[in-house]
Amino acid sequence: MSLSIRLTINGAPRDIALEDARVTLLDLLRERLALPGTKKGCDRGQCGACTVIVNGKRVNSCLTLAATLDGAQVTTIEGLATGDRLHPVQEAFIEQDGFQCGYCTPGQIMSAVGLIAEGRAGDDPERIREGMSGNICRCAAYHGITLAVQEATRRMAEAEKGDAA
């Protein structure tokens, strides 16, 4: 049995013949589409390492069956920067040392991008911590992560203001 779906991944349309209905979005990206930037930390929705943006929302790609996503827009860590220009969240993670080993980092960053888009946390550290708590960091880089999300939120808001003016 083969199932075909069309996804737009990091802006590029992809027609995908799925030979197996059990394939999760995470394993599709990592094992079949050569996009291993998205990480597997638990494979059951408990750690956030696999977070990607699907149709504008952050989701755990390990809990999402690829076959259910026909027509979806997917952004992964590989698609966040524009050429050599890093996304403000990526920049802020480097500046604030928001990681150590870097394994949870793609998930943290995509989650932060999602959180900022949700607009529910602003630059309030308490709310950022709450909103980022679906992403476990065993290295415990939480201090830097919170600062990075705060910083990126501010910078993105300023840039938006600048664009509007």
């Binding site: 990480k39 638990c42 059951r44 860590i77 150590q100 870097g102 793609p106 911590r129 476990i136």
Partner: protein
């Protein structure tokens, strides 16, 4: 403490700078390649079946059902497992453990691999493993510390700690005018690096190429080579990034060896990645302990004795006895000191070193006991520790190579506001009526060095390549080691290309014991020094060089130029020196290890003081750590930004130890019932607020040429006790079992 360096060393402008991570862009763009990110052509996926009983035998596996599943290419069981050249019970290298590689049908702990399934896809292999549907002849499982009789530990190297005794312990007890006798328990904890253990194995003839996360590349090569009967040079390991290690990724594990065997058998590359649940078994953990502490003081509150007995759980078939009681050595000036270890054998996977092995568990108990002793004496816990401050190593009388613990106490206390602390518990409430308490703990961690080699190559354009098989598992080796190398060469950081994480490079040693920066850094420092020395010789002999004839005058290197010491008017650029000599490059070699005479003469430790504030809901007994200040003295800090991150990470592990982590066994089956991130709690972002790190500089001429002590583990030490003591201060309850749970406080 000596305030000047006995052997002054050249320090350039790179060390000491809070440089951002050089691997930062790779890590934020998803291009940093971790083991399981590799997918060579023609790959097979391996999934193993973990035992679901803790003791007994496997009586049946439905191999036919698994083999019939589309995409399954091979099922490996004890019945058909190809031979290994090495003995799984042998321990081929330092830090080795006995491994489970389907050598028979016995089950020694829940989670032990009992079969391996290969598939064309991960989905097929996963389903094949499920279809094996094992049946067992189960025996009663022993998983609690009381399930077995305690036996003394036969000391004998790694995992079998010797006890230590100094002074007359009986006399110390007799001399006490006040004494306490308390018992603390710590739970089994599992490392759970975010990147689970994995391997991608490929054979070409008798050459083995591995992507595998390893904290010790060359040692791991030797270990794998042993099991497959090939020379260590035939094994290549690529490990540019580790997704955390914490002590669990030092050497080959059973599942990894099985995957390599499967690759050999099938002639195809094989990838194995442990599931999160599989991390609770064959890859080590911090064993549970029960520790009895008897402390006595005289009328002046001076300790007459610290008597620390540790009981630790190990597996039924191998030894790793948590050296918890040894944490009482080296810190407080007690008249007599005793540390003793006993072990029980349980049906669990073999424990192993986990971030601050010994110190984390031992200090948790010791620092709480110190608090109880201070309470009995009726004096402030900080004051009590200062009264028992050791100016020389207790018991041995050795001087410390450096010890700025007093400064840590003072600066940490000042920053925290400790002086306002009421002596008695249950005195403070916040504006919301939450019980508030302050506690503290002392941190002590040894600063071992291993051995490492490095190579530095100066190129004709004046840039350099520096190489060592060092490991970055998050501590920042890509950055801090490059900073050291740049300084050793007198070059700006961006002129230095740094290569690490590959076994073909000079042996970078072991990333463990908080000694990697000191050891690999020391080797790089020596390699750079070797280049500069040779360069000086060439220039001094070159009539066209401004340095010609400088003879015995020492040279110093700065910004790509060599200067005559003390005469800045005489200098020559690296590139010019090489060009005139017609050399395309100049290679220097270096190695580092601890000078034995210094190790003999001095007690070498990092120190710290941790202060914690907790708030406890008076009705629900929910505990929150609201503030922590850690002040640490760990010699020279190469990169303050990265060191702060490591120390903060360690302190958060302290929160985790004190309040979160515990693997719970079902006593009927022996299985761990909470073997995933839903049930096995580690701190998330919302658990972490108000943490602060201070570092106190120390010049230490004896630990190593660079004066580095290491910061990877000490953050957890002291933090656990500080939190528990703060909980007592908030509530008046001493909970002597970790993690401290709501129900313990509700029923206290």
């Amino acid at each position: 403490m000596p305030d000047t360096l006995a052997h002054p060393v050249r320090f350039g402008s790179n060390a000491g700078q809070p440089v951002t991570r050089r691997d930062g862009i790779a890590k934020v763009t998803g291009t940093a390649t971790f083991t399981a990110d590799n997918s060579p052509e023609n790959l097979l996926h391996a999934v193993y079946v973990p035992a679901t009983i803790a003791r007994g035998r496997v009586t049946h596996l439905d191999v036919a059902a698994a083999e019939a599943h589309p995409g399954v290419t091979m099922v490996m069981t004890p019945g058909n497992r190809p031979a290994l050249q090495g003995d799984p019970s042998a321990k081929p290298t330092m830090f080795s453990f006995r491994i489970e590689v389907l050598q028979d049908d016995s089950v020694r702990y829940a989670g032990q691999p009992i079969a391996l399934v290969l598939g064309e896809t991960l989905e097929a292999a996963t389903e094949g493993a499920r279809l094996l549907n094992p049946r067992y002849a189960a025996e009663p499982a022993r998983t609690r510390i009381d399930d077995d009789e305690a036996a003394p530990v036969e000391p004998g190297g790694f995992g079998r700690p010797a006890g230590v005794e100094h002074g007359d312990v009986a006399a110390g007890h007799a001399a006490a005018t006040k004494a306490i006798d308390v018992t603390y328990e710590t739970s089994a904890q599992y490392h759970n690096a975010m990147e689970t253990h994995a391997v991608v194995a490929q054979w070409e003839g008798d050459k083995l190429s591995l992507d595998v996360p390893s904290q010790a590349l060359l040692m791991s090569c030797a270990g794998y080579a042993y099991f497959f009967g090939i020379p260590a040079e035939n094994v290549t390991i690529r490990a540019p990034y580790l997704g955390g290690g914490f002590g669990s990724k030092a050497i080959p594990t059973g599942p990894q060896v099985l995957a390599i065997l499967a690759a050999k058998e099938t002639g195809r590359p094989v990838k194995l990645m442990l599931t999160r649940q599989q991390m609770f078994g064959p890859v080590g953990h911090r064993g549970a302990t029960r520790q009895r502490l008897r402390l006595g003081i005289d009328d002046g509150a001076a300790l007459t004795v610290i008597d620390h007995e540790g009981l630790a759980a190990t597996s039924s078939f191998d030894d790793f006895v948590e050296p918890a009681a040894n944490a009482s050595q080296g810190l407080y000036a007690a008249g007599a000191l005793r540390s003793a270890h006993r072990a029980v054998r349980l049906d669990v996977g073999t424990p192993g070193p986990m971030r601050a092995p010994g110190e984390a568990s031992g200090s948790a108990a010791l620092e709480c006991a110190m608090d109880e002793m201070a309470e009995a004496a009726g004096i402030d816990p900080l004051e009590f520790r200062l009264r028992n401050y050791a100016e020389t190593e207790p018991g041995t009388g050795k001087p410390y190579s450096s010890k700025a613990l007093r400064e840590c106490y003072m600066q940490g206390a000042e920053r925290f506001g400790w002086s306002g602390r009421p002596l008695l518990p249950r005195q403070m409430k916040d504006e919301n009526g939450l019980l508030t308490g302050w506690g503290m703990g002392t941190a002590l961690f040894p600063c071992p060095m291993f051995a490492a080699d490095a190579r530095a190559t100066l190129r004709s354009d004046g840039s350099a390549l520096v190489e060592t098989s060092a490991i970055d598992m998050g501590q920042g080796a890509w950055t801090a080691l490059a900073q050291i190398a740049a300084d050793s060469l007198g070059l700006p950081l961006d002129m230095v290309e740094f290569r690490a994480g590959h076994s073909s490079l000079p042996d970078g040693g072991v990333a463990g014991g908080s000694g990697h920066t000191a050891t690999a850094g020391g080797a790089l420092h020596a390699a750079g020094g070797d280049v500069i020395r040779q360069l000086g010789e060439i220039a001094a002999a070159d009539p066209e060089s401004p340095l010609h004839g400088a003879g015995n005058a020492a040279f110093s290197a700065r910004d790509g130029r060599l200067y005559v010491d003390g005469d800045d008017s005489r200098s020559d650029s690296f590139a010019d020196i090489l060009a005139r000599a017609g050399s395309a490059e100049l290679v220097g070699n270096g190695s580092a290890s601890r000078a034995p005479e210094d190790a003999e003469k001095f007690s070498m430790h990092s120190h710290g003081a941790v202060f914690a504030e907790v708030k406890v809901d008076p009705d629900l007994c929910q505990v929150r750590v609201t503030r922590m200040v850690g002040a640490f003295a760990a010699g020279r800090i190469i990169n303050p930004k990265l060191a702060e991150s490591q120390l903060l990470g360690g302190m958060i592990w302290g929160i985790s130890f004190a309040l979160h982590e515990e693997a719970k066994h079902d006593p009927r089956t022996g299985r761990i019932v909470n073997a995933d991130f839903a049930g096995y709690h580690v701190p998330v972002n919302a658990d972490v607020t108000g943490l602060e790190v201070l570092t106190v500089h120390e010049d230490d001429p004896y630990v190593n040429a660079l004066g580095i002590k290491g910061v990877g583990e000490i953050g957890i030490v002291g933090s656990v006790g500080a939190i528990a003591n703060a909980i007592w201060h908030a509530t008046g309850h001493r909970i002597r079992r970790f993690p401290i749970r709501i129900e313990d406080l509700l029923t206290a």
